[in-house]
């Protein structure tokens, strides 16, 4: 360790942030050593994002102090933070669709003379960083033509090549495949070697152990502990610190599964999908697992009628797949992949969000029944344990995990017989994850069916009865979940090793 690491590069003292009705960050003090990967963990709504927004000047603290290398640090906006050597990768995507990849990579860091853009080594550096993480992205392509994962990669590359001495990453891997995660970790380790400090936020605890040097745990806005990861005994200790109980669970075979097919898909084909056929039974939880771009979202959207595919989809003997409206009427509901843009009405309240998928129940001959709406909001806020001061709070003002619960509540209110859940726990903390899994199970136990589309192996292995493995748009094989399921085989199939091995 170098001399520099003697003093903390970044420290906060008695930092507090109040929102109306919520103290999001409550008297938090800790410090971060130089040239380390410092992890920040906590449940949904624990205050992680709020904390880093203050560090980067996007939010102003209500009270408390921040210090960089021992001297006072009061960023008024992200630009100040940049100047102070702190770059940030926020939880939400922040790329400009209308610009090219290269223009995005250099955004805000351009070299210029009298306002004129000049070519510099920066251009080469960002392109190199990008290539190190994902070589297939063309720097001159327009960002609007990229997928979500690719956009995320661009943001990572931008932060990594910003030349900052501290880089904050808020859930950078939420949308990435394992391969990209591995490459990203390589980049982070290289950064650490060049004396860059990385503040890393993630709900994926394995990543924390793999990458982190030290960890800070937040709970309900309060600071619980900061210590080196080598002093943490393991997942269970970390989880306990986060929520005070252990929730890690294994798959237990379920009894409600039947052999009665409710959904039969045959030969689904489009730009991405190649002749995909499968069946989903009543009472069953099936998983669709594959890497980014393998076609999970495409299948979910096709079943829901959100995208057109050729082939046939029969649900309870009825043809579906033409429109979401038709799907919902038939009894199918979807939790979409991106909650903010596809699932939520952020500018409306929790109360107004929940009933949208079941207008029949909500109204009497077109006239609204506000009592139904109130009761539903009240019921689901309680049932899903949504952390809010009031059911009239704007969805925008909730933390990521609680927003996800609202989207789930929408689908539950729809009284669907088949739930399609696309990345249902992306950005959701372990505690809430367990709650969501319980809800999924009880839905299925009541005789409904659930399809989980996920890029987290732990997730599909934890709750699904049967798992379809996807690679590059085709359904390679299926595996029955059980105590002796072969994870290595699964990983082999989804990374292109071809299926076929009999389970």
């Amino acid at each position: 360790m170098t001399d520099q690491s003697q003093s903390p590069v970044l420290s906060v003292e008695a930092l507090t942030k109040d929102y109306p009705g919520v103290r999001a960050v409550d008297d938090v003090s800790f410090s971060i050593e130089s040239s380390t990967v410092h992890c920040l963990v906590g449940e949904n709504g624990a205050g992680k994002s709020t904390l880093i927004k203050m560090l980067t000047g996007a939010l102003q603290p209500t009270s408390g102090r921040m210090k960089v290398r021992g001297s006072a640090y009061e960023p008024g906006n992200p630009h100040d933070a940049r100047e102070g050597g702190i770059a940030t990768l926020f939880q939400e995507l922040h790329v400009v669709d209308e610009l090219t990849v290269l223009e995005n990579l250099t955004l805000g860091m351009e070299r210029s003379r009298f306002g004129f853009l000049v070519k510099s080594d920066l251009d080469d550096r960002v392109v190199q960083t990008l290539a190190a993480i994902e070589p297939s992205i063309d720097p001159s392509a327009r960002v609007s033509s990229l997928s979500v994962a690719q956009k995320q990669i661009i943001e990572i590359a931008r932060a990594a090549s910003s030349g900052a001495s501290v880089i904050i990453m808020d859930e950078p891997t939420a949308a990435l495949s394992e391969r990209e995660v591995a490459r990203l970790f390589g980049v982070i380790r290289r950064l650490r070697e060049t004396d860059v400090t990385v503040v890393y936020i993630s709900h994926k605890l394995d990543e924390i152990f793999e990458l982190g040097d030290a960890v800070t745990v937040l709970r309900d806005g309060k600071h619980i502990v900061t210590k080196p990861l080598s002093d943490v005994a393991g997942r269970s200790e970390l989880i306990e610190m986060m929520i005070g109980r252990n929730v890690f669970q294994d798959y237990t075979p379920r009894t409600a599964v039947t052999n009665e097919a409710v959904l039969i898909a045959r030969g689904l084909t489009n730009k991405l999908l190649k002749d995909v056929s499968f069946e989903i039974n009543r009472g069953e939880i099936v998983g669709f697992y594959g890497l980014v771009g393998a076609g999970k979202t495409e299948i979910a959207r096709a079943l829901f009628g959100a995208d057109k595919v050729s082939g046939s989809i029969l649900f309870k003997g009825q043809k579906v797949g033409n429109s979401p409206k038709e799907a919902i009427a038939a009894g199918i509901a979807l939790v979409p992949e991106e909650r903010r843009t596809q699932g939520l009405f952020t500018s409306l309240t929790i109360r107004e969000n929940i009933p949208v998928m079941n207008l029949k129940r909500l109204s009497n001959r077109g006239v609204f029944r506000s009592s139904v709406e109130l009761e539903a909001a009240d019921e689901y806020v309680g049932k899903l344990n949504i952390a809010t001061s009031s059911i009239d709070k704007y969805a925008e003002k909730l933390s990521g995990g609680n927003q996800q619960k609202i989207v789930l509540a929408k689908c539950l209110f729809a009284d669907a017989d088949l739930l399609l859940l696309d990345e249902p726990t992306r950005g959701v903390d372990v505690g809430a994850k367990a709650e969501i899994y319980d809800i999924i199970r009880s839905m299925a136990d009541e005789g409904n069916s659930v399809a989980v589309f996920s890029s987290e192996l732990e997730e599909v292995l934890g709750i699904c009865d049967r798992i379809f493995l996807l690679f590059d748009g085709s359904l390679e094989t299926e595996v029955i979940n059980g105590p002796d399921v072969d994870a290595a085989h699964i990983l082999n199939v989804v990374t292109g090793g071809r299926g076929g091995a009999v389970q």
């Binding site: 992200p78 922040h94 790329v95 063309d138 980014v292 393998a294």
Partner: protein, 345 residues
């Protein structure tokens, strides 16, 4: 494309997409050619396109370019502002007020360059005021600039004495001789200074859009304001600067108009905001921000002016609105078809 096996590789562009892409970039020029061709043949029984009385004769072209000067001056700055996701509905009033100020200065004996400079500064001030309302007071751009539309127009009317329609010769005061030359007298290629200033303004803005931080930051601000802010871009400053540029352009447009008319008319910019929007949209600028090209708006302005002026002698004036509306819708529809083609594949 570097690694074929990657799941993230982009598909190569097909021929259809490339054609669509080409069309999208250049369609506005085709529209211009089509309009000119149509007006040229629609006019007449004789086939000599360049003879006097036809659309394509020298006088007619000079005339159209001359009266287009104000709109041409304004189109570029307006485009950049829309690219950044903002709008200025007060441009007409800014133009009128500048015209009145300029005429007042001139009639009171202020020499050309001084009057010119003072008016530009005034335009910058008006633009800055808009920027202040939008950025600092956080009033929605549409409302903020509707407020100043009314305010600036009131001020322009206030500067002109009651019972008279404009600042002009009369009552013992006389407009100086140079006043009219700037907007009318032929210089290079027999076109007046005002036209060349419009060309110069456009050139400067084309360069600004393609080669400077301002151009890039305008696109970033319009494309994704949060991302721009979080990248450390002071979007507020960018937006205020763009409003100032629009203000200055509107002042130049006002000068051009008042010189051409030889008077300072407090209503001379009325409706300019609509024409400017029409022109910019015709040029393919996205109303939601992020996209748009200065040069294409310039061409859009030429199309509109060619149509309004050129149509005069072909059909009765009362067909004008109908034709302009149809052109706008047709342009929007074809633009849509092209971009659908472009994204398809």
């Amino acid at each position: 494309m570097m690694s074929q096996s990657s799941t993230l590789a982009q598909p190569p562009a097909t021929r259809g997409v490339r054609v669509a892409h080409f069309l999208r970039n250049y369609y506005i020029y085709f529209v211009l050619v089509a309009v000119v061709a149509l007006l040229s043949v629609a006019n007449l029984d004789k086939f000599d396109l360049f003879e006097r009385g036809n659309f394509l004769n020298e006088k007619s072209i000079i005339n159209i370019l001359r009266v287009s000067a104000p709109l041409l001056t304004l189109a570029g700055a307006f485009t950049l502002l829309m690219v950044s996701g903002y709008i200025d509905l007060s441009v007409g009033s800014t133009m009128s007020l500048s015209a009145v100020i300029y005429a007042l200065l001139a009639i009171n004996g202020v020499p050309f360059l001084a009057a010119f400079a003072i008016t530009m500064v005034a335009g910058a001030g008006l633009g800055a005021f808009n920027g202040f309302l939008v950025v600092r007071l956080k009033i929605t751009p549409v409302i903020a600039t509707l407020i100043t539309l009314s305010l600036f127009k009131g001020m322009a009317l206030l500067l002109v004495q009651d019972g008279v329609s404009a600042i002009k010769s009369g009552g013992g005061q006389k407009m100086p001789g140079w006043f009219n030359s700037y907007g009318r007298e032929g210089t290079l290629l027999n076109l007046p200074m005002a036209f060349w200033v419009a060309v110069a303004v456009t050139l400067v803005l084309v360069i600004a859009q393609n080669r400077t931080l301002l151009g890039k930051y305008a696109a970033a601000t319009g494309g994704n304001p949060t991302a721009a802010k979080l990248s450390g871009i002071n979007t507020g400053k960018i937006v205020i600067l763009l409003y100032v540029i629009v203000g200055v352009s509107a002042a130049l447009a006002g000068i051009a108009r008042s010189s051409f008319m030889s008077l300072g008319d407090p209503l001379s910019g009325d409706g300019m905001e609509l024409t400017a929007i029409l022109v910019v949209l015709l040029g393919g600028t996205a109303f939601s921000g992020g996209e748009g090209r200065v040069l294409r708006s310039f061409v859009g302005a030429l199309i509109i002016m060619a149509l309004t002026v050129g149509m005069l002698t072909v059909v009765p004036a009362y067909y004008q609105t109908l034709v302009l509306g149809a052109v706008l819708l047709a342009a929007a529809a074809s633009n849509h078809l092209i971009s659908r083609k472009e994204t398809a594949s």
